[in-house]
């Protein structure tokens, strides 16, 4: 716990803590909000937080962008997290597009993009089907 009172430790780790707060905000939107579009925005925020963590890990104090210069003594930041996150951003937009397409399709069928209303409609549908099955089986046994 002594470390938490040391200003250089706190400043050096502030980034990670802010990333945790951002990630948890995204998770909260996904879990606590019923609107499907908002859930996708929440997922994007969660994802952005992961990007931050990786890029933070690649940063070198006093370093420059990993593009080779003529100066032989130049310090570069680590290029590997950048490559990983480039791929992740492109895959992220692909999954976002798929999620948005699903949302649009759900809206077409259910007429709403609120999770609670969709569940309610599903519930009523199931009850109606069960009632229909019970009615036919009662009729069958009466005929027999």
């Amino acid at each position: 716990m002594d470390r938490l009172l040391d200003p250089s430790f706190v400043l050096g780790h502030m980034n990670y803590w802010l990333f945790v707060v951002l990630m948890m905000t995204g998770l909260y939107i996904v879990v606590a909000r019923g609107n499907l579009l908002k859930k996708i925005v929440g997922l994007n925020i969660f994802q952005a937080a992961v990007f931050m963590l990786y890029i933070s890990a690649g940063k070198v104090r006093g370093g420059t962008a990993p593009i080779l210069t003529d100066n032989p003594g130049e310090a570069y930041s680590n290029p590997l997290p950048h490559v990983l996150i480039l791929t992740a951003i492109v895959v992220g937009i692909a999954t976002t597009a798929l999620g948005l397409a699903l949302t649009t399709r759900i809206n077409e069928v259910y007429g709403t993009i609120e999770e609670d209303e969709i569940l309610e409609i599903d519930h009523q549908e199931t009850e109606r089907e069960v009632a229909a099955i019970l009615a036919t089986s009662a009729q069958d046994s009466a005929n027999a």
């Binding site: 905000t25 908002k38 952005a48 950048h82 951003i89 937009i93």
Partner: protein
């Protein structure tokens, strides 16, 4: 100074994200998510990830905002006011957050040149790119040459997602026309 700007931008992103949780208008939500993308692009530039900043500004703030605007145009513009019990999610995220923060305490401090992430394979790519690939941008060299197969895999993922979108939304116009005709006649 650089650290101060980094932390300020980070705080601005967190504040925007918290605003998104409370706003009902989906248009505002989409715009704020574009703001988050732009702010994070700035942050990436500060943290030396120029290629990532470029992609984030184009893809995150550009394409994804357009896709989301299209979606709200096809669905609805406001989030309905539905009462939910938010105590359990709140407890879950606070608990998860505390566990994650506990995990960060053992991490090397931000920008440390001797952290494990800097001392292994990354340095090898920096040393070899000039001789082996003959281009100055190391990120491009790794993406398109050293790890070219991974990029091919990424293209496969994007293709699959595109196929999924076409299958989900294909014929939507025809379906809605048919429904309208049935309602009329």
């Amino acid at each position: 100074m650089e650290l101060a700007i980094t932390l300020f931008l980070f705080c601005a992103i967190v504040a925007t994200a918290i605003a998104i949780t409370t706003i009902r208008s989906l248009f505002a939500v989409v715009m704020l998510s574009g703001v988050i993308s732009l702010l994070s692009a700035l942050l990436f530039v500060l943290m030396d990830a120029v290629d990532v900043a470029f992609t984030e500004a184009a893809v995150g703030a550009g394409i994804s905002t357009v896709l989301m605007l299209g979606t709200i145009a096809l669905t609805s513009r406001t989030q309905k006011d539905i009462k939910r019990n938010n105590l359990i999610p709140l407890a879950v995220i606070i608990l998860t957050g505390l566990v994650l923060i506990d995990g960060t305490l053992d991490m090397p401090s931000f920008g440390a040149p001797d952290s494990p992430a800097q001392t292994h394979v990354g340095a090898a790519y920096i040393a070899r790119t000039a001789d082996e690939i003959h281009i100055p941008n190391i990120v491009t060299a790794v993406l398109a040459s050293y790890r070219g197969y991974d990029t091919l895999g990424e293209v496969t993922v994007v293709f699959t997602a595109g196929l999924g979108v076409v299958l989900l939304l294909g014929g939507m116009g025809a379906r809605s026309r048919k429904r309208r005709q049935e309602e009329e006649g």
